[in-house]
């Protein structure tokens, strides 16, 4: 079947053991305000626009069937993202590469063909394939097909996930995923609705199940200054590590602002404008806080 793939990134060194390819599937069930991949919020294809690159030639306005592009006499480029259907006609002719379609509709077999290209690297390094997003489970049927294909190839599989899915899905995933990279963003008592766009997210039941099934977990902890850089949050991480021996390691994913520009590119407003990339010493201090 077909799915919408945001990107297939090769030689990923941070998404599990060995040399890996990471498949980013489009679509997410959370709206984390610090997200550095906001182009993966929606599952459908969408237009990305880089204002710095635009030369104001107006070629896009001339070819757009929806009239989504407008160029003012001062060569200021306005896009009505609501009108846009991501047909890609503007991106095709944009001479400055300021416009691009984010996401690509691909057959599972097509994805597999890309993944196969690095087989020798996975095998030599005991690496494999990681699925990420967005939240990869949003395209569940596509994800399962991809996992099955990878299983058949003998690829080690990892799933990078926020854990916001049903126990039934957890059961199916456990059959096909070798390693879970589980994001711990905010505990159930923290302000989830404000920062994640949902509430009631609790990883403990999922972790219980994964423990039962003997599935290894790497806990990935985004730490955002002013949001979850609190002793309370670090305590929760320590407790999870203590309570679930299948957590092989917990990683601090310190906030960085490289995703800032992407929000604007797709016509969204970024709430954390003032926030700066976390310094290395700060990150190290957090790393110490989740030990023990």
């Amino acid at each position: 079947m077909k799915g919408i793939v945001l990107n297939i990134q090769r030689f990923c060194t941070q998404d599990g053991p060995g040399i890996r390819s990471t498949v980013f599937l489009k679509g997410c069930n959370l709206r984390c305000q610090w997200c550095h991949n906001p182009e993966s919020f929606q599952s459908a294809l969408q237009l990305g626009y880089s204002a710095q690159k635009c030369v104001g030639c107006g070629g896009c306005a001339a070819v757009c069937p929806q009239g989504a592009h407008g160029i003012s006499p001062e060569k200021k480029h306005e896009i009505d993202f609501k009108k846009c259907t991501a047909c890609g006609k503007c991106a095709e002719i944009c001479p400055a590469d300021a416009l691009r379609v984010l996401g690509r509709s691909m057959e599972a077999e097509e994805v597999l063909a890309e993944l196969r290209k690095d087989r020798k690297f996975y095998e030599r390094s005991q690496g494999g394939v990681t699925f990420s997003g967005g939240e990869a489970t949003v395209q569940m049927a596509f994800l399962l097909e991809l996992l099955e294909l990878c299983n058949r190839e003998g690829f080690h599989t990892a799933l990078e996930t926020n854990g916001a899915f049903s126990p039934e899905r957890a059961a199916i995933l456990c059959q096909r995923v070798d390693l879970f990279l589980l994001d711990f963003k905010l505990g159930p008592v923290e302000a989830q609705k404000k920062w994640l766009g949902v509430s009631g997210l609790d990883l403990r039941p999922l972790l219980e199940y994964l423990l039962q099934k003997d599935k290894p977990v790497i806990l990935r902890c985004p730490i955002i200054p002013g949001v979850n850089d609190t002793e309370e949050h670090f305590r929760q991480i320590r407790e999870l590590r203590r309570d679930f021996p299948n957590i092989q390691q917990a990683e601090i994913m310190a906030y960085h602002d490289t995703g800032k520009g992407k929000w604007k590119e797709i016509g969204l407003e970024y709430q954390l404008e003032e926030l700066k990339t976390v310094s290395a010493p700060q990150k190290e201090s957090w790393e110490r806080q989740i030990q023990g």
Partner: protein, 740 residues
């Protein structure tokens, strides 16, 4: 006496000695013996090893500065002569004038040019600063002599060898000249022994002891085979300096036993070993041959791998501390090699040294065996010299003397033989653009056009060897190259076992990407006619931004995309086959392409019009088997997969440049190591690693004073980034950096 006067006197005396011998072997031996008395430089108080030389205006050398055998620097001679003319008396002036007229015609390069003109009626271009897509040079470069033989026999042993073979082959002037050559090296040792003794008398403490030891070593090696690491290193160096050799072969192999024995006996510590090597490195730096100066470590086919590995560690440590562009330390990788050596190699690279360069024995030994049709044990002795051309230690020549720019060739084809940049007609009788109805017709026309030129280059190469062979015996090489002594023949007169050569191709990937774009846009999708496309290139894309985007977006080599990679391998194979065939017709044993460019890929790019790969006029062209600049956008494994698709047994060397951030090395050391190992174990030939971030390069352009030690790997050599011309800096900056 002032410098000019001294230079002119030297030239006159050298000329007289040259003229006084009718036998070319004895002439060479006497000329070299004479020049060594003058070109060797005094031992300095900081030196750890003896031996340094400075060329004169006329002399003998195998490859000095792109001129060779009997070389002559006419402009410099004229300048010096002008400078001291008034101080010379009439007879001296006359002699100088006579020497000038004599060497104008007698220098070997001129003789090659004349020979070529006699056959073809014109002279080949000698540089990329002139019109056309091909040029050639004169030299006998890079042959790696058998230093092991030197270590085993020592100078007296070599004399005995000469006598033995001379007796068997009816003693000739060739053998007599070889004795003279050995004696010239011995005299150089004696001279430096005296200087070392002199310095030991004026120095104190550690330095005094050091010069005493050096004097002892220099005395011993005048006769005996070396018995310590110092003696071995000194003998290798003095032989190289006297010969003007610039590539030093498998040093860990031929010096490993001496080094290990010293360590074992407590005569030397590892730190002292590193210090001695650093002493050698300082001499390398003074000579400054950044495109040569190869030192090879590791690999299969070494006599005592454990001893050699001990020394390999010391070489890497010295390179780590030295952080200079020389030597081009090269590690031959193979499965099952010492993990300690391998880790050290990655650690040194991770510090941004650009060394050691990796070569894969897994790939190259079987490839060299097949390519040259030689036994496995000979193939195991392959080494890349210079920018990376293969030779077999002690058994083959491999000079790359010609350059072919495939992107420029395509440009000239698309302009019906006209070099638009230089406004000169290069080829005639080519079809109008509208006559090409298929891509295949265009592709075939390119090769039809190039064939006669490539054939001339091969003939020129052969003449280069023939004329050099007629002029000299190349005694310093003949002595240490199979099978000169046993055959009684000099290197280039049937002595060397394999008379091989190479032709350097430039811009192969830029040309391939351009062909892919033309095939797709003109012949498959028919978005443009060929005339329209060429008009857009002539306008350097101005006013054709959308079409420029189409060309940029066409598939590019380096992304693991079949369409683009197939074109690259097809072009590579076809030019390889054509070149090999031209070599056979010219009478060379083996003549193969190499894709191992130095900074010339950026420099030659300046003279190239815009190309269909999307490259603008005068921008850099691709380097070696690296992608079109910054066209690799699919990750490092995709690039390495593309690089591993070429056949490995139809060329005499390629280079693959990759760049990582230092942060990636630091955070994912093991993964980077496994990445490189996987490549080298799966058809990868070699890898130049540059560990530096783009930000560092940008900052270095803005604040060069803070980045004096920033090293980059360009292609077939390394450089200090801040010393490069801005066009080359920009090209380096534009290359993709992988972050993981």
């Amino acid at each position: 006496m002032n410098q000019s006067m001294r230079q002119i006197r030297h030239a006159v005396e050298f000329t007289e000695i040259y003229k006084s011998s009718s036998d070319k072997y004895l002439r060479e031996a006497r000329c070299v013996a004479y020049q060594l008395q003058h070109i060797l430089q005094p031992l300095e108080p900081e030196d750890r090893l003896a031996g340094m030389m400075r060329h004169e205006l006329v002399g003998f050398s195998s490859q000095y500065g792109g001129i060779y055998t009997y070389y002559f620097h006419e402009p410099e001679f004229l300048a010096a002569f002008q400078d001291c003319r008034e101080e010379l008396d009439e007879p001296a002036r006359k002699k100088a004038e006579a020497a000038l007229e004599f060497w104008k015609l007698e220098n070997t390069r001129k003789k090659v040019a004349n020979r070529f003109i006699r056959q073809y009626g014109f002279e080949m271009g000698y540089s990329f600063h002139s019109a056309g897509y091909a040029n050639c040079d004169c030299r006998v470069a890079g042959t790696n002599v058998d230093f092991q033989k030197l270590m085993d026999l020592g100078l007296d042993g070599l004399d005995r060898e000469i006598e033995r073979w001379g007796a068997q082959n009816e003693n000739s002037s060739f053998y007599q000249a070889l004795h003279l050559w050995v004696n010239a090296v011995r005299n150089a040792c004696a001279r430096y022994a005296r200087e070392a003794e002199g310095l030991s008398e004026v120095c104190t403490g550690e330095r005094q002891a050091r010069f005493r030891e050096l004097a002892r070593a220099l005395k011993n090696i005048q006769h005996k085979a070396p018995e310590t690491f110092l003696e071995g290193l000194q003998l290798m160096w003095i032989y190289s300096v006297c010969s003007d050799l610039m590539n030093y072969g498998r040093m860990d192999d031929y010096l490993g036993d001496l080094y290990a024995a010293d360590l074992q006996a407590g005569r030397l510590t590892e730190e002292e070993g590193v210090q001695l090597i650093l002493g050698l490195y300082r001499h390398f730096k003074t000579i400054g041959k950044i495109h040569d100066c190869r030192v090879i470590i590791g690999g299969v086919g070494r006599r005592a791998p454990e001893h050699a590995d001990q020394l390999a560690m010391a070489f890497m440590e010295a390179s780590r501390r030295f952080k200079e562009t020389v030597p081009q330390l090269t590690l031959r990788y193979h499965k099952g090699m010492s993990e300690e050596v391998l880790n050290k190699a990655f650690q040194v690279n991770a510090e941004g040294c650009t060394f050691p360069i990796f070569y894969s024995d897994e790939t190259n030994v079987p490839a060299v065996e097949k390519l040259y049709g030689i036994p496995r044990e000979e193939a195991e002795q392959y080494v890349p010299f210079g920018c990376g051309e293969y030779v077999i230690v002690g058994k083959s020549t491999g000079t790359p003397n010609s350059g072919v720019n495939l992107l420029k060739a395509l440009e000239i084809l698309l302009h019906r033989g006209y070099d638009k940049f230089f406004e000169e007609t290069i080829e005639t009788g080519l079809p109008e653009l509208q006559q090409y109805s298929t891509f295949e017709e265009l592709y075939e026309a390119l090769f039809r056009m190039m064939e006669p030129t490539l054939q001339r280059l091969a003939v020129h190469k052969m003449m280069n060897y023939q004329v050099a062979g007629e002029e000299a015996g190349y005694l310093h090489q003949s002595l240490l190259m199979d099978d000169c002594l046993s055959r009684g023949k000099a290197l280039l007169e049937g002595g060397v076992r394999y008379l091989n050569a190479a032709s350097e191709v430039f811009g192969i990937i830029s040309a391939a990407d351009s062909l892919t774009a033309i095939k797709k846009l003109v012949f498959e999708e028919k978005r443009l006619s060929l005339q329209e496309l060429v008009a857009i290139l002539d306008a350097d894309f101005e006013g054709h931004e959308t079409e420029h985007k189409w060309m940029r977006d066409a598939p590019k080599y380096g992304n693991d995309i079949e369409e683009a990679d197939e074109m690259a391998t097809r072009l590579f194979n076809d030019v390889a086959e054509l070149t090999t065939g031209c070599g056979e017709k010219a009478g060379l044993n083996r003549y193969h392409i190499v894709s191992v460019n130095n900074s010339m890929s950026a420099e030659w790019g300046y003279y190239c019009e815009a190309s269909a790969c999307g490259r603008r006029r005068s921008a850099a062209i691709s380097n070696g088997n690296g992608p079109s600049i910054a066209a690799d956008q699919s990750g490092i494994t995709a690039l390495l997969n593309s690089m591993a698709k070429f056949p490995t047994d139809n060329h005499a060397g390629v280079i693959n440049n990759i760049r990582f951030t230092r942060e990636l090395f630091a955070s994912s050391f093991e993964k980077v190591k496994l990445l490189v190992q996987t490549f080298l174990e799966n058809n990868g030939v070699q890898l130049n690693i540059c560990a530096v971030g783009k930000e560092d390069l940008e900052n270095a352009m803005k604040h060069p004073e803070q980045y004096q030690n920033l090293m980059v790997r360009i292609g077939g050599f390394s450089a200090r980034f801040v010393t490069l011309e801005s066009s080359i800096q920009r090209e380096i900056l534009a290359r993709t950096t992988y972050e993981g």
